[in-house]
Amino acid sequence: MTTGAIVTMVGGIVVIWGGLATSIWWAWRSESHWTDDD
């Protein structure tokens, strides 16, 4: 694999999967909203 392809793949994974992990973490820390929607 070329360096450009590796950088793009790793960058894409970090940003997109990192974005998902951050969003879930953000929701998780507001525990009442995660487990109890009224």
């Binding site: 694999m1 950088v7 894409g12 974005g19 998902l20 487990t35």
Partner: protein, 514 residues
């Protein structure tokens, strides 16, 4: 009207349903090809911009609309302003048309799950799909129904309707809590296996090698916004309907970020798995990668079976797993599309869930039989293309223009979302929806019209395109107009009082009910 039992039981249930709706066949067979065609690794830059300036803002918009005005799309638009109710019905009608053929493709995948056992498609996978399985006839003809297609389609409808009959909490939520984790686990296992195949690195290299000169190409940006728009299930009322089932206190913005990033994460995983497999196929056959690349139906039902044939072992198992994934992804999307027109029928005609599902789902199932005939493949291809480009893409564009420019409701929705959400919506959200999204979707719409006025899609006969393409797209608009003319039940249009936030205008509250 929807009753109290039509409410999500948990936040995770809603998020999984929204993600299940967004993750569909397009994630697996469209995204990798679009990324490869539009600059490889360089495509990911406009794609990320599109996610953050169109995808997630549109999700927040639709979540907020459904949550703020509580109802199916026609009812939500009616509550916003009676002059735009037709837009809700247009979205519902577009979803109805999608449902007619989407079930058929899931039916094909179900049949192929069975054909995977012993790789019954043989060595010529193209001939098996076209001639043995579909018994495809010439473009523009209908022909006789094909039993081996009808049977799996009926089975898919039975599952989709059974989930719908059980309701939101006991049906859709339970189903997605089972299907989505299963889908992700099986797909992850398939991707790991694909990565260990010889030639996988060359395939992944082809997908991710960045052609940086393409970043300044406007066509790449339009393609990125188009991909984000089509992949997130926005523009045809699913998210409006689903969010109307949320309880009063819920994190709308946070849910949109999770759903948007989860969908893109799956798409990225699909790209890696598909291109690793294509690299393997290219190495086995000695063909260059650009000749092995495929998308859509050709990728799923011709190229993938060939790849499965070439695998060194457990061919049947991988076939069952791959087509099982397609079925799971398809069904989780299909239940959301069905819910759109079921909710609309319930609201407008005061029907029970059972009656609305029997009427709407039953009609849709009967119409879908047209695609199980020998001419079904080409009819499906044309209806899908026109319904996407002149239905779905336009309803999304019109929705944004109406909400942002004509009715100027973004400030109301921003206030609503910020009052209950963890992540505050800032100016980026308003700018995204008033400028970025309309401009990019508008350019895409102009290019689509221009292309289809100057050449026939896939070289199909003009008469066929006028009937199955333009004709269906026009009929959808007429149907939407007619449905919006009917009067609403007296009590339906009024927003339930506990949901009315103080100080916010509710246009219909004191309005005469048509």
């Amino acid at each position: 009207m929807a009753d109290q039992s039509d409410q999500w039981g948990s936040r995770v249930g809603f998020v999984l349903a929204a993600v299940g709706s967004a993750i569909g066949l397009g994630n697996i067979w469209r995204f990798p090809f679009v990324a490869y065609e539009q600059g490889g690794g360089a495509f990911f830059i406009p794609y990320l911009f599109a996610l953050l300036t169109a995808g997630i803002p549109l999700l927040v918009l639709e979540y907020s609309m459904g949550h703020r005005w509580r109802g199916s799309a026609p009812l939500v638009f009616r509550r916003i302003d009676r002059r735009v109710e037709w837009l809700g019905w247009w979205q519902v009608a577009v979803g109805f048309v999608i449902a007619t053929y989407y079930t058929v493709v899931i039916g094909w995948a179900l049949a192929y799950t069975w054909y995977s056992v012993g790789t019954q498609w043989g060595t010529d996978t193209g001939a098996f799909f076209q001639e043995t399985f579909l018994e495809a006839s010439e473009a523009g003809t209908v022909g006789a129904p094909v039993p081996q297609v009808i049977i799996p389609v009926v089975m898919v409808w039975a599952v989709v309707l059974a989930i719908g009959f059980a309701g939101v909490k006991r049906g859709i939520e339970r189903a997605v809590k089972l299907m989505i984790p299963l889908l992700v686990m099986i797909f992850l296992a398939l991707v790991v296996r694909a990565l260990t195949l010889p030639g996988a690195a060359e395939g992944i290299n082809a997908l991710f090698a960045p052609d940086l000169s393409r970043i300044v190409d406007p066509q790449v940006w339009v393609a990125a916004y188009g991909q984000i728009f089509f992949t997130l299930s926005v523009g045809f009322a699913i998210m409006i309907t689903y969010s109307s089932y949320l309880p009063r206190r819920t994190d709308l913005t946070g849910n949109a970020f999770i759903a948007g990033f989860a969908n893109s994460s799956f798409e990225l995983l699909a790209g890696i798995g598909i291109f690793a497999s294509i690299g393997f196929l290219a190495q086995q056959t000695g063909a260059p990668i650009d000749e092995a690349v495929a998308s859509g139906v050709g990728l799923a039902f011709i190229a993938l079976p060939e790849i499965i044939n070439q695998m060194p072992g457990f061919n049947s198992l991988f076939g069952v797993a791959f087509f099982g994934v397609l079925v799971l992804a398809g069904v989780s999307s299909m239940v959301s599309i069905t819910e759109v027109f079921v909710a609309a029928l319930r609201d407008k005609f005061s029907l029970s869930r059972r009656a609305a599902l029997s009427l709407g789902g039953g009609t849709c199932a009967v119409v879908s039989l047209i695609y199980t005939t020998r001419g079904g493949l080409t009819i499906l291809d044309v209806v899908d293309y026109f319904n996407n480009n002149f239905g779905l893409a336009l309803t999304g564009l019109v929705e944004v223009v109406v909400m942002a420019w004509l009715l100027r409701k973004l400030a109301t929705l921003q206030e609503h979302a910020n009052r209950i959400s963890q992540i505050p919506l800032g100016r980026w959200w308003i700018v995204s929806l008033t400028v970025v999204t309309p401009v990019l979707l508008g350019v895409q719409a102009i290019l689509n019209v221009q292309e289809n006025l100057t050449s026939n899609y896939s070289g199909y006969p003009t008469g066929f395109l006028r009937g199955a393409g333009w004709g269906v797209s026009f009929a959808v608009i007429v149907a939407a107009g007619l449905l919006s003319l009917r009067r609403w039940p007296i009590a339906t249009v009024q927003l339930p009082s506990p949901q009315e936030p103080s100080g916010v205008d509710v246009d219909v509250r004191e309005e005469e009910i048509r």
